[in-house]
Symmetry: C2
Subunit: 424 residues, 2 copies
């Protein structure tokens, strides 16, 4: 069965018509005008197809299609509408609009389903504005309170708490929106991979088994500034050549731990004073280690820190290591994964069980509901960028898979036997 | 013979009293208020001891003490008064004020000398303001014209040409000040080493044999931005890990060529986009290679460029190498070196024949006059920094050596047999 994606592509284009230019990409930073306009348009679209719509205290938008038995727990699916600055056309939006399209197809085809089905737009998924990611879904699991919203400040100095108030939401009531797990059967999020694996390996679908968590640390290296002409090589305490050795050790460790899906990245390297004729006296490195295997991640961190000590000792450079964050990976529900894979097989879609290196709302919801995260390939793995693209056949595959998966989940089916707790 | 340095220290302190704070260091950026006040004070000091004073069209200040035979060519000595922002108390100033102290001692002791003796303060030695160094001495060798002064722009957008006009100088006449070599017998500059060699090796005096020239190039590395969590290690084109390998090769080459006094430095490393969760897509490195042996420098450049190609090919990163400058080292006059060394021996000063890694006015004057450059140690080699220090005994040694050397040069002495051209 091939599904027509022309209407889905139109609604995607419609929302991307807001605050988007060819030069800059998509600008729907959380709770800015672009985001607010997109929310309004999303609600209009859902309303026009007869869904029941409401917003919660932190701005998550909900759209519900009733089932044959309204007392049954709902099947939930969705993603987010907000973007990074100059972002892409599919990150978040694809999952949201595909879910709406699925509901519209079920409606048109007058298909019966036992469980109600709800689409959710999670509020403030990207961390770009308030330095906190997946805010809406964190609130749904009870992780946030008014004071944590007051502590998130944007570049203009406005707190998330104040911005929510100004936009008509109720940050003081954020704790009330915690989901009652008995009200929901399962959650499914479809998202672009934001990495190159599926695209390069020509695989249709990624079935996510775990969402990686980052361990992040800052490394301050203190050598000695010297004149680039006047200081002989053997008398130098060059902070940048020490940093270079460390960067290569960090990469080497990532390659060694690849077999456990751990990756290591030095994303920031700042050099002081940073002048052509001065041997660098100080370097700051920021290191990000991600994985789904805690033992492998910890091994990488320990080995890197030991190497840093050896290199700095040898080069007479002082080092300060500062852990910035240390999160745990989230494993997804195995029965949900099996349900998704079964639908892939039925649709003839090639698929791969994989980790998600990036964080998603699904990682929060997985703590309270049986959760699946489905990836579709994006061209060359490019995301958070105006060049982000998804091929039409991958949109079609994603739509078909989400359609089948939601229909499966929305039937009363004791065999699926989902557990409320993640099956770890 | 021990010379008393208390007066010299007072005049140094007096000039350093201008635009200097404990927090920031010395601020006599070329042609700013601090520099202009220091020039005025210098002229007052010279005037008070009866020297004849004049300024030339580009602001070099000249102070002359007549010899027994005023028709003989003069012996020239001097350095500069201007500093880098937040600079040190001795860079340039020590050479200028020691030369004045020598003239004052000769005057007080009523010592006879055949040749006239002149002290010169070179204008605009530091490149910090106008991105061109040793302007005053370049003008004296005929290297500059009004349009080259118009092309030097400071951070406020003012050209060197306009600033000179505003301060009462005559940039249109800059070509007129070219020195007639028949009017000068020799030039001696005393300067702090600005490197750690003499201080760490406990040597009193550096007798400079050559002034290193930099070859500088920019290296642009273009990899591929990717999500730090979503992109597996083996699919990355990380511009920073490529840069790290290159930085270590550059260092390795410098160590290999150390025997020829060549040094290699990566002073600037800029990483884009420079975010914690993004594999770096682009890196700019700026490399400075200095030496006094052209073959060794060229070998270093060629080998580095070849390594860059290998590393980039292996890592699928694109590279652009852009040569920024390529200057030739300047060899100093051997008979002048011998005269300085002979005076060291007479005074019981330990000394070392060495290269100057940094540029100095002496490198320009050496093209037209027999020139000597004398280094005194500075503590830990620290310079261009408010922590720059020179120990009292090293000031004393420098004063004694300059005193003896100027007296030697100022006597009619056919044996010295200086040649006008650098003895290369």
């Amino acid at each position: 069965m091939k599904l027509d994606i022309s209407r889905l592509q139109r609604t995607i284009d419609q929302i991307n018509g807001i605050e988007t230019t060819q030069e800059e990409g998509v600008n729907r930073l959380a709770l800015t005008d672009g985001d607010m306009k997109a929310r309004r348009l999303f609600k209009e679209i859902c309303s026009s197809i007869g869904l029941k719509i409401w917003e919660d205290e932190i701005g998550n938008i909900w759209a519900r299609k009733e089932g044959l038995d309204p007392t049954l727990p709902a099947v939930l699916c969705g993603s987010h509408l907000d973007t990074v600055p100059n972002g892409g056309r599919y990150d978040g939006l694809l999952g949201v609009m595909t879910a709406v399209e699925v509901l519209q197809l079920i409606q048109e085809r007058e298909l019966e389903h036992d469980h109600p089905i709800e689409v959710v737009v999670f509020s403030i998924e990207e961390s770009s504005r308030f330095n906190l990611s997946t805010v809406g879904s964190k609130a749904l699991t009870g992780e946030l309170n008014p004071s944590s919203l007051k502590n998130c400040i944007d570049q203009q100095g406005k707190s998330l708490y104040d911005v929510l108030l100004k936009k008509g939401y109720f940050p003081d009531e954020v704790e009330k929106i915690k989901i009652d797990p008995s009200q929901y059967k399962a959650f499914v999020e479809m998202h672009i991979e934001q990495g190159p694996v599926l695209y390069r390996e020509s695989i249709d679908i990624g079935v996510v088994e775990a969402i990686a968590a980052p361990i992040r640390f800052q490394l301050n290296l203190l050598g000695e500034e010297a004149h680039s002409g006047a200081c002989p090589m053997k008398m130098r305490k060059d902070a940048l050549t020490a940093a270079a050795e460390i960067i290569l050790e960090i990469e080497k460790k990532g390659i060694e731990e690849s077999v456990h899906q751990t990756v290591t990245t030095t994303g920031i390297c700042r050099v002081f004073p940073g002048a052509m004729n001065v041997v660098p006296g100080e370097v700051d490195l920021y290191v990000d280690i991600r994985g789904i295997d805690i033992m492998s991640m910890m091994r990488a961190v320990t080995d890197i820190v030991q190497k840093v000590e050896e290199i700095c000792k040898k080069r007479q450079v002082q080092q300060i290591v500062k852990i910035i964050s240390q999160e745990k990976p989230v494993l997804l529900n195995k029965r949900m994964m099996e349900a998704v894979k079964e639908n892939c097989r039925r649709l003839g879609l090639s698929h791969k069980q994989m980790a998600s290196g990036a964080g998603h709302d699904a990682m929060n919801i997985a703590k309270i509901l049986p959760t699946a995260l489905i990836f579709v390939p994006c061209v060359d793995g490019i995301s958070h960028n105006k060049k982000e693209r998804v091929e039409a056949r991958d949109i079609e595959n994603g739509l078909s898979l989400l359609y089948e998966t939601i229909l499966t989940l929305a039937q009363k089916d004791e065999d699926l036997n989902l557990e409320k707790e993640a099956d770890v």
